[in-house]
Symmetry: C2
Subunit: 108 residues, 2 copies
DNA sequence: TGCAAATATGTCAGCAATGACATACTCTGA
DNA sequence: TCAGAGTATGTCATTGCTGACATATTTGCA
């Protein structure tokens, strides 16, 4: 994994000069993952609040129950994109999403 | 486009019963698009604040200048995923992203 | 003006995310 | 304790996003 990162860096024209550089990258990935985790639990709360089954949400999303389960568990194969579309499908507004994101503190 | 939506609905097991149902979908798409537009302009502001060129951001993102241009113009082929990764690459925190999203008012 | 840096636009092969399905597991009420 | 509803997990063909490249256009400064 670290080796793969290094490869990508070099391919992108970066000189890999220090461990710190790699740590920064890790920080960015951390923020990304935490964002997903935060939003996915927000989604589950929201869905339960509405007393919807995963299947109900799935049909509103034009997706499937199994994918909703993956969204809510922050599965690596699920994009932020789909996650946010799912939140929107539960009727949350931009400000609601913002509030969820607000639970994350500055990390960088 | 509307025909395509109808197709997807029916494929997903929805009975297309009313125009309202289609309008609801449109609302959701609207929120999604506005989210992208808001975040992409936040990204541009942030990049200029740092006095980075698109190329600079691209290398930090491990992407290309042309894709950064597309991200900042909220191009349809660019996902929220990449958009948010770009914001993170400029060093914004979760709360910063939340603040950007806060500019959107409740829509639904 | 004219040149160089920055940005925009179009295209495409490759790969990652997707919906769908099958099936296993976990609850909850009777 | 069992049945049925809800949820989790694995897999796969298709679709859509991706980085990269080429090239056009814009910007800013001497």
């Amino acid at each position: 994994m670290d080796e793969k990162k290094r490869e990508r860096l070099e391919k992108a024209g970066w000189q890999v000069v220090s461990v710190k550089e790699l740590l920064d990258l890790t920080d960015e990935e951390t923020v990304y993952v935490e964002l997903k985790v935060e939003l996915s639990s927000a989604l589950r709360r929201r869905r339960k609040q509405l007393r919807w089954s995963q299947e109900m949400l799935a049909s509103r999303l034009h997706s499937s129950q199994s994918r909703v389960a993956k969204i809510e568990s922050a599965d690596p194969t699920v994009s932020l994109d789909l996650l946010i579309k799912a939140l929107i499908a539960t009727g949350v507004s931009g400000t609601d999403i913002a509030r969820s994101l607000g639970a994350l503190e500055a990390e960088i």
